[in-house]
Structures are given as C-alpha cells and as structure tokens.
C-alpha cells in the first residue's frame, strides 16, 4: 500500500492551531519524509466533541458534517488529536450501523445539503504510522537511532477506548505507541497506571482534580527514571507540558520531565534538527535529552 503513496485528509481540529503548533509542524515534517501526502480541507470545522456534554445530537450533526465532506473526497481522514479521532470514528461507525440514528442525523444534514453515506474511514496519526506506513518503512528512515534515550509513553484514552468503537489496540495493554517509540531506537519504559486519563477534559470545570491526576502520573514516570514522556494528543500534551510548572508549584515538587510529541521524537531519529521540529516551543525544555543524542 505504501508503494502507491498514502494520502489522507488532514483533520487539524481546534486545540492544535490554537495552542500546540509544534505538534502540527513536526507531524508535517515527519510524514513528508515518509512520503505520506496530506490534503488540506478548507471546510472542516471543530469535530463536535466539546458539544457532546451539552447536546449529543448537535455533536453528532457536526461530526457527521465533517465526515460527509470527507466522503466527497473519497479519502480517509487522519486526525492528530485523540479527541477528534475518538468522536469522528465513533460517530462514523455508529451511523454506519444504526439506520434510525443515521436517518435522524441526515434530517439535520439536509439543511446544509449533505447526506451521510458511510463511505469514509477515520484514523489517528499513530494508526497511519503503525498500520499503513508500517514499522519497517519507518525504520528505514531512521538515520540517527536514539539508543541512549529512555522514555515513557502516554497513549491517551480516545485512541484505545471505548473498545466497542476503537479496535486498533488493546485498551488493557496498548502497544502501538510503544512500538513506534522503539522503532526510533529509544527504550520505552513501563510505569504504574500508564493507561490512565490525563484529566484535561474537565480542567475547565475543576482544575484541582486533573492536576492531581497529572501529578500522580508524572510521579510514576519519574520513579522509573524516564528522561522524557511521549504523547500523541494535543490535550494530553498540554496537561503534562504546559501545566507541568503549575503542577510543580501546586504540589511543591520538581519534575522537569520534557514532554515530546511522538513525531518530534521520530523526527530526531530521522536526523532532523530540534529547531525544525519546533522543540523550542515546549514549555519544559528538552535541551538535556537533545544534548545526549
């Protein structure tokens, strides 16, 4: 499949252009090197996720609208955010299976001249890398194996649960992101509670609890002496990187754990410079780990 050239509709979502440009920059660089083509979609909007708590029907309509635009292009969607992937994938599968629900959503879509037909698929960046590009091809692009580096991963919830809709990985023992890390030559360490939520989705309602969750996790990561944490979701990344100084202040504890987007790690292994991969945008500086590579 990789020989024919892989092509996806890029679903950027909201939080990446708003606050986490480094994830987009490094993803584009790495996918370009792997020969994966991204198609820009001028009419995509928010995936719908933020509206689910207040109006499920509206979330479905907004997600379905994005899916319809993808159907017109006859190409699969690639999301970078776990939340966007979770919602688009869930709605896509649910509407394909449930005729009554599909009819109801199509009633709404008629207002904007669209109809959900169920002909597209939704993938997350890590699915594209692990399943479509493949580990072998990624390995071929690794010019500078990251052997001295020991890292931990935070896969994030919506690329593994609920298992009814997400089938690519084992939610009790997810391995996709770990395997992708190992391809770079870095060692991937296990730690306690690594499948637990980052807590970020409720930070706007209650900031105390998510900070406790994140502190607990950062503590477990520090305990196994990981030199960095690797994520593949802008929300999880914000929780551990952007909020890390806040967590350190709140609990009077020092972590200093750099948090890299997976494509930043892969890019380093491909021999790209930290600047090219926007490592300077990270809140917790990664200078120490760059120095040992």
């Amino acid at each position: 499949m990789a020989e024919q050239g892989l092509k996806y509709l890029l679903f950027l979502g909201c939080v990446i252009p708003y606050r986490v440009a480094s994830y987009e920059i490094s993803t584009r660089k790495v996918l370009d090197r792997l020969g994966v083509e991204l198609v820009e979609m001028p009419d995509f909007t928010c995936c719908g996720l933020p509206l689910d708590p207040v109006n499920h029907e509206m979330m479905m309509a907004l997600a379905a609208r994005n899916l319809c635009l993808a159907e017109q292009q006859t190409l699969p969607i690639m999301a970078l955010c776990n939340g966007c992937f979770g919602v688009l994938n869930h709605v896509n599968k649910e509407l394909k299976e449930d005729k009554r629900l599909r009819e109801k959503v199509n009633e709404h879509l008629k207002e904007i001249g669209l109809e959900f037909k169920g002909t597209t698929t939704v993938k997350h960046l890590i699915h594209v890398l692990a399943e479509d590009v493949g580990f072998e091809k990624i390995k071929d692009t690794v010019k500078k194996p990251l052997n001295p580096l020991k890292v931990a991963v935070h896969t994030g919830c919506h690329v593994m649960r609920p298992s009814k809709y997400v089938t690519s990985d084992d939610p009790e023992n997810p391995t996709l992101l770990k395997k992708l890390v190992r391809v770079t030559g870095a060692e991937c360490l296990d730690y306690m509670d690594e499948n637990e939520c980052c807590g970020n989705p409720i930070i706007g309602v209650n900031s105390e609890i998510p900070l406790q969750l994140a502190r607990h996790k950062l503590g477990n990561i520090r305990a196994v002496k990981a030199q960095a944490l690797i994520t593949a979701c802008p929300f999880c990344h914000m929780m551990y990187d952007l909020h890390q100084p806040r967590i350190e202040r709140a609990f009077n504890e020092k972590f200093g754990i750099p948090v890299l987007h997976y494509p930043q790690l892969l890019g380093l292994a491909m021999g790209m410079t930290p600047d090219e991969l926007a490592l300077h945008d990270l809140r917790v500086k990664a200078a120490e780990i760059v120095a040992i590579l």
């Binding site: 708003y18 909007t45 509206l51 499920h56 629900l101 009633e107 904007i112 706007g204």
Partner: protein, 183 residues
C-alpha cells in the same frame, strides 16, 4: 413523636430516607433514550465503574455507580442538580469494564444533556459553544496565531464554514439552549 417517627424525620431531613412522591418513575426511560444509555436498568450496582474511575480515585464527590442508581430510582432533581456529573473526563474506562455493558459514561452524558435544558451550563461549555457558533472552532483563534502560521510556513487554517454550523445549531434545537443561556 415515637422513636421511629423521629428517625424518619431525621432521615428525610438528611436525604437518607426518600418519599416515593419525590421520585419520578419515568426518569429512567427519559435517560435510556440517549444513544449508549439504553442498558441502564441492567446495572446491578457492582461498583466496578467507581472502583476503576480515575476521577473517583482523587475525589470523594464523583461516584458513577451512585449516579446510575439515582437514575434507576427516579431521583431526577437530585441527579440533575448534582455538580459531580460534570467531573467525568470521558476516559471510557467504566464503559469498557462494566460487566453489564451499561455505558456508564453515556448515562452521565445523558444527565448533562438534560441538566442544561433546566439550569445554566458550566461557563466553560457556554464559551466553547459560542466560539463554535461564531467561528466553527472551539476557540476563537487570535489573528496573531494565524500570522504565526504563515511565518512558520504552515498552510492557512480551514475557514470553519460558520454558515453551515449555524444552520445545524438551529436544526438540532441547540441554538435555543444557547439563547436561553445568553439571557
């Protein structure tokens, strides 16, 4: 007043004793209409959802098992006014681990959806909703960010198609909820 009557009075005051007249027997049907929440009557209160909930681990106030029980019993007002319904992060651990396939997170979502029809929504959801209505994005992305995209050589952001978004807000009736919130 006899001892039993006194106990009953105290129980009613503390909310540990319920009046059947305070229960809404139809509430469970209302909630189970929501996609994913259909099986709520199958919950036999094992508590796996609460035991495995990462939020329940760090706060005493959020107990998904209790919320499902409130719905089963018809404690509509108590459930809808319980602020803890807003603490679910939708990690879906409860959904995956439930031995009865209850879809606990979906029940909580159905409670939230109903709660906002009767009382103000948490301010953060008001902000997100109005940003989506105005721009198609959950956040109003500042001009500075758009200029920075250009400088970094990134392609322009999708425009957001506000017109379509507004039509969908109307079609689903969600625009009414937002109008009520604005008042």
């Amino acid at each position: 007043m006899s001892e039993t009557e006194k106990k009953l009075e105290k129980g009613l005051e503390e909310g540990t004793v319920l009046r059947t007249t305070d229960l809404d027997p139809k509430f469970k049907y209302e909630i189970s209409k929501a996609p994913g929440a259909e099986k709520l009557m199958l919950c036999f209160q094992c508590g796996t959802c609460t035991a495995d909930c990462p939020i329940a681990r760090f706060t005493d106030s959020y107990r998904p098992r209790k919320l499902v029980r409130m719905v089963q019993l018809g404690l509509k007002d108590r459930a809808l006014s319980d602020d803890s319904i807003w603490l679910c992060t939708t990690c879906f651990t409860c959904v995956d681990h439930c031995p009865q396939d209850v879809g606990t997170a979906e029940v909580v979502r159905a409670l939230r959806n109903l709660a906002v029809k009767e009382r103000p929504m948490p301010p953060v959801y008001k902000e997100l909703s109005s940003a989506i209505l105005k721009t198609g994005y959950a956040y109003e992305i500042p001009q500075l960010r758009l200029r920075q995209r250009e400088e970094k050589g990134l392609p322009p952001l999708p425009k957001g198609d506000v017109d379509s978004v507004q039509k969908l807000f109307k079609a689903t009736g969600f625009s009414k909820t937002i109008e009520e919130e604005e008042k």
